[in-house]
Amino acid sequence: MCKIMSLFLTLVFAFFPLNFSAHAAKKEFIFGLLLVGPYNDHGWSQAHYEAAKAVEKELEGVKLLYIDKVNPADRPGVTIPQLVDELVSKGAKFIIANSDDMKDGIREAAEQHPDVYFLHISGDDVLTGKAPKNLSNLMGKMEYGKMMAGFVAAMTTKTGKIGYLGPLVNDETRRLAVSSYLGAKYAWEKVLKRDPKKLIFQVSWIGFWFNIPGVTADPTQVTQNFFNSGFDVVISGIDTTEALVVAGQKRKEGKNVWAIPYDYKDACNEAPEACLGVPYFNWKPGYIHFVKSAMNGNWRQEWLWLEPDWHDINNPDTSSVGFTPGPALKPEVKKALAEFQKKLGDGSLNLFVGPLYYQDGSVFLSKGEQATDTKIWYMKQLLKGMIGPSSAK
């Protein structure tokens, strides 16, 4: 057996001179990207992947190294610090971790590599002071995107029943579900002027950002349950497009239902005829900001929560959050949406204004009170009027 092992090793060593190099001869700046899902998931991870690709193309001398499906179910035994070691040994000077789930791992890795810069997407380690100096946070103000999603959902629904396909439960996901609800409520009560009691807004959580068979609830199943029990619009809060796919199937069966996917600007392509639109992230402006500061050596620890560019929320170079209207959106709703967007943009409309109450009846915002960023960021419960658990059972 020993002999075999040595034979094996010599064999491999024999190929050693053929060594091809990852860090090419010319000086380049390498940045790494850890994607939680597949790079082509039509959702969260693809949005990140495309932004990183765009950065690679736009900035001279910048090279991207990425690895996708970084989660213990897809890559058993592989840890975040291990992958960071890997990227660093390949020459990466700046590393992005794109999932909330990587929070602890990326912090550990940042502590191990003080000479490398890190960016954790959607985290708050900078706010809480847990982060070392070389770790920053980035997020887009998706609240606005979700408000638009809620708005078109309420404008479109025939039954008055809107389903929200939630991932796991935390501050971020509660915040986004609440934003969707506020958008829907506004459309229902202020635009359509219908009876507030007739609007049903229900949240179902699957337990993770995407389906892990046997571990999470199956999003396909959950969506079907919504459609089968009278809901006709489902807003997706998860990284992948099951809600839209199911809606497309139901339409083929003759049911008049719609869905609103999430995360990625071309997500509607999966089933355009059922798609009311998609609120999406555009990570490019944020990425470019951090890559540049890491390259130029003027890095500064930041917690960035980037707004849409209200002049043109779909501008890929300036707007961090956008909303692509879907093919299924009716013209009159589209017009109402433009109006809604305008009001949000010029500040004449703020949906996070009191009185608003948490699910348990306690006060979230007292009458006339405008919510601060921190108050919105740390959303402790769903709001009164929404159906569904605010935390795990």
Binding site: M1, C2, K3, I4, M5, L7, F8, V12, F15, F16, L18, N19, F20, A22, L65, Y66, I67, D68, K69, N71, P72, A73, R75, P76, G77, V78, T79, Q82, L83, D85, E86, L87, S89, K90, D101, D104, P167, L168, V169, N170, D171, W205, G207, F208, I212, G214, V215, T216, K380, P389, S391, A392, K393
Partner: protein, 334 residues
């Protein structure tokens, strides 16, 4: 198997893998190079290999006991999970009461008990219910997985959060100590080596080891010799479960520092392959485990550098076992 057989096996696997690589359009030599460099490129890489090698060796040692007796302890996955649950339980329950080192020791013991309990459950079903250990093992694996999910989503959820991603990480003081710059615990390497040698000693030099081998050879003759099948089955399962539980402890306190749904990293199933490839003999185990660990760790380079799926390492591991079995069969026929 003789040395020549091993050469045949490895050459065969290499050629099939090369064909597979050609088919997916990857340059085979680069792929092998990457795997190799991904495993030996630096101390960090090799430390990573050792972090896979340790659980594979420990788990394989436990499986040697059951395999020698002719038992198919498929339930080893669940036994690892229960070990992880056991150690997490202690760390959650006692973190404020005792000193960290004491907690880690208690967590280790509790992990061993957890794994052993799960193994003994399969043994009990076999003895009392006459349920084949493959079926009970598979069933108990599912139950263990469900238990972990329930714990993560329920009693051990992170405050204010409901996510399947795992429990709150343990406080740093309760991470199993790893010397700065090492990335792998020398204590655990030592432990794996000691356990391997102890297993070898027990199986080769003690009467009990021989009894297990005898039962593996012919269970029906046991009665004539007054050897109790049930008692030995119980103890063999107990050993396998205890070793697997230790792997669960390793995974939670050394690698992940929390409980996650995929805590076992499939090392149980991988160890079954290791021991089968070793033909239930202890001597090849550390080498095969090393080869598997190299593949496991090195193959992460494939998606990173060549954009091909890292499950190729799984293909190579499976091919190794299948070809080895083929060669053994061919030997026996001639």
């Amino acid at each position: 198997m003789k040395i020549t057989d091993w050469v045949i096996v490895i050459l065969a696997v290499f050629s099939v893998t090369t064909v597979v690589l050609f088919l997916v359009g990857a340059p085979p030599i680069d792929a092998y190079m990457l795997i190799f460099k991904g495993a030996f490129g630096s101390w960090r890489h090799f430390a990573q290999v050792l972090n896979v090698w340790i659980p594979l060796v420990i788990c394989s040692c436990g499986l040697l006991f059951t395999f020698n007796m002719g038992l198919w302890n498929i339930g080893v996955e669940g036994q690892i999970m229960l070990g992880a649950v056991g150690s997490t339980f202690v760390i959650k329950a006692c973190s404020s009461v005792f000193s960290p080192s004491l907690i880690l020791v208690v967590a280790g013991i509790c992990a061993i008990l957890g794994g052993a309990l799960w193994a003994v459950a399969a043994g009990f079903l076999k003895i009392r219910g006459n349920v084949h250990e493959i079926f009970s093992g598979l069933g108990l694996n599912f139950v263990a997985q469900a238990l972990i999910l329930w714990l993560i989503f329920g009693p051990w959820k992170r405050p204010g959060i409901a996510s399947m991603s795992g429990t709150e990480p343990f406080p740093k003081s309760l991470w199993f100590p790893v010397p700065a710059g090492w990335r792998v615990s020398p204590f655990m390497i030592g432990l794996a080596v000691v356990l391997l040698l102890a297993t070898a000693k027990v199986l080769q030099a003690t009467r009990w080891g021989l009894v297990l081998k005898a039962l593996g050879s012919n269970v029906k003759a046991a009665g004539v010799y007054g050897i109790s099948v049930n008692r030995n089955l119980f103890f063999a399962m107990l050993c396998a479960g205890a070793f697997a539980g230790l792997v669960g402890f390793f995974q939670t306190t050394v690698i992940y520092h929390r409980l996650i749904p995929a805590i076992s990293s499939n090392y149980g199933y991988l160890s079954l392959l290791v021991v089968m490839l070793a033909q239930y003999n202890w001597k090849p185990v550390p080498f095969i485990a090393l080869l598997f660990a190299i593949l496991q760790v090195g193959s992460i380079q494939l998606p990173l550098m060549l954009r091909i799926d890292s499950s190729l390492s799984g293909v190579i591991q499976g091919l190794l076992v299948l070809t080895a079995i083929g060669v053994m069969y061919a030997r026996r026929r001639s």
